[in-house]
Amino acid sequence: MIRFDEVSKRYPGGKEALVRVSFELEAGEMVFLTGHSGAGKSTMMKLIILMERPSQGQVFLAGTNLSRVSRRQIPAVRRSVGVVFQNHQLLFDRTVFDNVALPLAIAGFGHREVGRRVRAALSKVGLSDKEKLFPVTLSGGEQQRVGIARAVVNKPAVLLADEPTGNLDPELSKEIMDLFHQFNQVGVTVMIATHDLGLVSRMKRRELKLDHGRLEEVAL
């Protein structure tokens, strides 16, 4: 589903964020991406949704070689991936409903279908009663769940989460992780960047560890 082939990323200014990273993720897998702050976790995520391009090597997503994707085709790639970010990236002047509906509006779904899917996504993350509220009135954990609902509302085959529990207390973190686990159970390929090692060890999943841009597989 996701394959990195000898990928290096050097940012303008010379910082080597990734050094010859290779790995493959099967469809339906769930994997944790760990490593110190600045190890290159976010950079890996950004390469998958084409927010950055590799300096060397190739990234494949669902069989597509991303180095062949033109600027115009980027939105379509991004729509096929659900992303959850640490800083929730919500529209604060829109209701919860409208936030979650955004990917559907972009994809051009009909009114009724949008309502149906948004409610399904909100009920999955346990926010059914909050659709008319604005994000500011929600707690941090609830805002994060709005972000997750938006990431899955379009039923993507791949879900990327960059430190989704970064600001949350252990209790809420566990809830969020359980949610990702559920999506994985129905076949979604899930990749979660985190430095919450306690959580990772409890989940007993494949773990990829980055150290100064170099990737190593952690044995279970």
Binding site: R79, D93, G108, F109, G110, T189
Partner: protein, 325 residues
Amino acid sequence: MTKTPASSKSSGATTAVTSFRAKALSWASHHRRVAVESLSSLLATWLTSLMTWLVIGIALALPIILYLMLVNVAEISGEWDGQPRISLYLVHGAAETEARDLAQRLLERPDIESTSFISSVDALVEFRAISGFGDVLNTLDHNPLPAVIEIRPSTTDVSQLRLQVTSLAGYELVDSVAFDLEWIERLFAILQFGERLVAAVGFVLALGVLLIIGNTIRLAIENRRSEIEIVKLVGGTDSFVRRPFLYLGFWYGLGGAVCAWILVQGSLIFLSAPVETLAQSYRDDFALSGLGVLDSCIILGTGSALGILGALVAVSRHLKAIEPK
């Protein structure tokens, strides 16, 4: 493990095929929604919006008012009509038979429609009657007035008339030709200059409107930077991201055009009474030409088009630079 995503993918494909109509409908309803949202965002800050609308309105109204002035002046002067007259003053002592003969011969020229001969005696009688100088004239021992042939040319074209005047002056019997070409030529020159002026002013002000709208849209883009980043992050296409700003430009342009229309109609009402009084001394049926339905549509259409164009310029220059980080 690989079974489920494959099936979810294929179900996604079926939805895409079966719901083409639904997608077209949703596309239309999205347009409607974006249009309404951008208008209501303008109305929510109506005072600021009104300022922008007025500035655009003034910029559009100015060339329109100039243009209407031009049209009306052309109409009044056109009324001086297609019937110019040329007077041929004949040499003193020209024999009346020869003079009548000339008048007759002139009729054969294709550029002359009719002639009429006024002998020096008739001219004196007429002059006496209308001038009131009868007593003075009686003291003169000879008639100082020349015989005259009045001509109605068959053309109204100024350059042809000018040629005609030169050729008429060539006849032996003709002493001088009176025809006030100059003021007509001046008027035509002024009208032509006016047309150019309207075009130039219109062009410059249209450019100004484009810049005003472009700049306003640039600020709107700047204000919604984080929203644009998010929309792009979740896969918003360029046209999706662009759409609200194009509608914003459209509303700015249309609102500005409505202001311009009100300003123009207001000035016409304000000016119509004195202008018509003045003009009716030349022409009794004169009415100030105002904005018709077609003119109004053109104004509103031009305003909206300028709005969209200004927005397009701003969007193409500033939207690409905003990428999610």
